[in-house]
Subunit: 443 residues, 2 copies
Amino acid sequence: MKQHIIEPRILKGFRDFLPDAQIIRERILSTLEKVYRRYGFVPIDTPILEYTEVLLGKGGGETDKQIYRFEDNGGRDVSMRFDLTVPFARFMAGHYNELYLPFKRYHIGKVFRGENTQRGRFREFIQCDFDIVGTDTASADFEILQVMVRSFQALDLSRVTVRCAHRGVFNRFLRNLGISDRSAEVLRTVDKRHKIGTAETRALLTEFLSDDHADQIVSYIAPEADNQATLKKITALAGGPDEDSLRLETVLDLACETGIDSSIVLDPSITRGLDYYTGIVFETFLDDLPEIGSVCSGGRYNDLASLYTRQHLPGVGSSVGLDRLVAALDELGSFSENVPSVEVLVFQIEQEHLSRYHQIAEMLRVKGFSVEVFPEAKKIQQQFSYAEKKGIPVGVICGGREIQDGVVNLKNLETRENREGVSLDQSAAVLEELLPYRQGSVT
Amino acid sequence: MKQHIIEPRILKGFRDFLPDAQIIRERILSTLEKVYRRYGFVPIDTPILEYTEVLLGKGGGETDKQIYRFEDNGGRDVSMRFDLTVPFARFMAGHYNELYLPFKRYHIGKVFRGENTQRGRFREFIQCDFDIVGTDTASADFEILQVMVRSFQALDLSRVTVRCAHRGVFNRFLRNLGISDRSAEVLRTVDKRHKIGTAETRALLTEFLSDDHADQIVSYIAPEADNQATLKKITALAGGPDEDSLRLETVLDLACETGIDSSIVLDPSITRGLDYYTGIVFETFLDDLPEIGSVCSGGRYNDLASLYTRQHLPGVGSSVGLDRLVAALDELGSFSENVPSVEVLVFQIEQEHLSRYHQIAEMLRVKGFSVEVFPEAKKIQQQFSYAEKKGIPVGVICGGREIQDGVVNLKNLETRENREGVSLDQSAAVLEELLPYRQGSVT
């Protein structure tokens, strides 16, 4: 009569999250959301599944192979979203008349790509995007940088550097050199500087440029001693001040005047891909973990939704990859002093007092604690073991005698410190003493 | 040169959520999470996409047509999850050795079904499940009921009734009548009582049962004046007390002794489907909106993960449908006194003072307000209009003169109440006065 057992496997590149990991992920997301909201960004959501035509445009092209694409039961050609930018463009075009401009949105959601998992890539992962569309201003550019810096500070990752550059200034510099036609190759090469170093970058450039042009580019992309000096140099190399260099200057001034300039470096080697961005571009590196790469990147684009509408929608935005952030926080030991997910376990010592145990639990919850009652009167060692595995720091342990006397015994399950015969009125205060991170938080 | 425009359409049964709607959805979810956490439930997450074999079991059967199922680029037969129960079963089987029992988890996530959209059904929707597995006890049954009641109270939906019954007691009653072989039809018919009324239920029963049996069933399923009387009646009709009736009694006692009994009704006509549940079952109705049906349902099952493991995992759990809850809160006018998503707009009156505007905004954010700076020095009427559309209640309006004097003008944009020449030190306190829901909240 035994039935066949199906192996409980999951797809490669997809993941389960057990409570300890999921709690950290939720805490990071909720911290980010609080910062976004504090700066006036509001949330949206869009479907996981969309028409393939909408997500890929007419052609599709190279991305195609990485897309989860299929025909649904109604014969429609559908795909799972592979980023949050394309759905946002479609969203802005579709809801243009219900919205207002500038529109500041954030969007946290799962995206799907059939990546090669051998490179440690995931096929399902969470992105957190925030953008300001409908305004082409230094104020908006600056605000995105500001939110990035403040987000990492809120995550206790204050040692962070946002490296920014301006695609317009770079392009004018290349025009000045008379090598605009090679700009794609130049951008692609320069983008490698952080990985391969300046000498190697120069060597690669000389493969398709003259030594003089390579030298000028190497000079252009090297940050100077401070942002002002870098700005002055690239402005001169690009042929003098113009709208783009003035925009950069204003953004850097705003950073100074709001005190975030120590986290901002003007780094002309930052290019961010080839087509999409038209203005400021930026990447974010953790000073203590530069090797994991950019944890938050983005830039200004000229027109978000031209595939779907003739409305012109310039914007600026940035995207955080949750996985890289989790890895970084883990590596740096942040979040290591974890607030426990459950604070108190009420032991079930004698089954006949079950309702009393539930009353005690409920009383403590009203005082703001997270509390559970062990559901069976199992051996006390099993209940201790449960508390340990779940990381519950305090136990309420009382049998018939304590219940008769209207008191409880409280035990710090880690230090084994006991507080016996505590009256119910006093229990919240004593609990607070047993939970060090709690000091002063009981309401 | 104009390119073809792709219509920014979305799939039928799928939805975009604009900020106002998304904010409410997030607030509901975060309220539910807080309650779950307070009762010791911890979060997990699982993939949206899984092996079809894992989600559907060997056969598949009727559910099949509603599943988004396809072959991925690696030739695997995959499906998008259609609920959170099957992935939870697979999760428990796969991580059995990493977990502890009892395991109390909640899971909030999107699920997908190719439902007939003409019946107002959605093809992508969010479920919030919470379960306790690894213990077959009254304490766990009760705790699920308790979390349900407390969840709705936390959402300001205190006028709620959880209707519960016990499948075991009902089955024994049918055995006693000698009609166990008709139990599927009986359960299916009885389940309709709330929609069609008692007389019609009896008529349907007599189509396949004797008048006497139909009368006995109608008598069994009618709640009495109070839960004790109902319990006494069904216990007698089932042949006297046994383990199942004692379990029900203990659960009801716990409800009394923790003060949630006024929200719990023993209603023997609740059956919840045919196969899955084996013990207590429940549905939750809003007293002011019974017609929308159950907003939270569940019950006890004998073995969660038998498809994937020989480990025996009894459990009890419940599931909240977010959409129904949103509809109810909307209908009842809850959440209507909305806390605004952004509290303060700093107007950009003169572009030359942009950095000052950003400084003021940052100062107010440090005081705990949600603030944005209008990114362009547009006509003041356009900035007013932006604030109105976004629902921002207060404006900070200052030109060169105020900036020189180190003061700000604050304006309640709804009442047009002005506070002029407020010093920066005083601005947080004055803002608090202008934001009534804020009283006493500034840190």
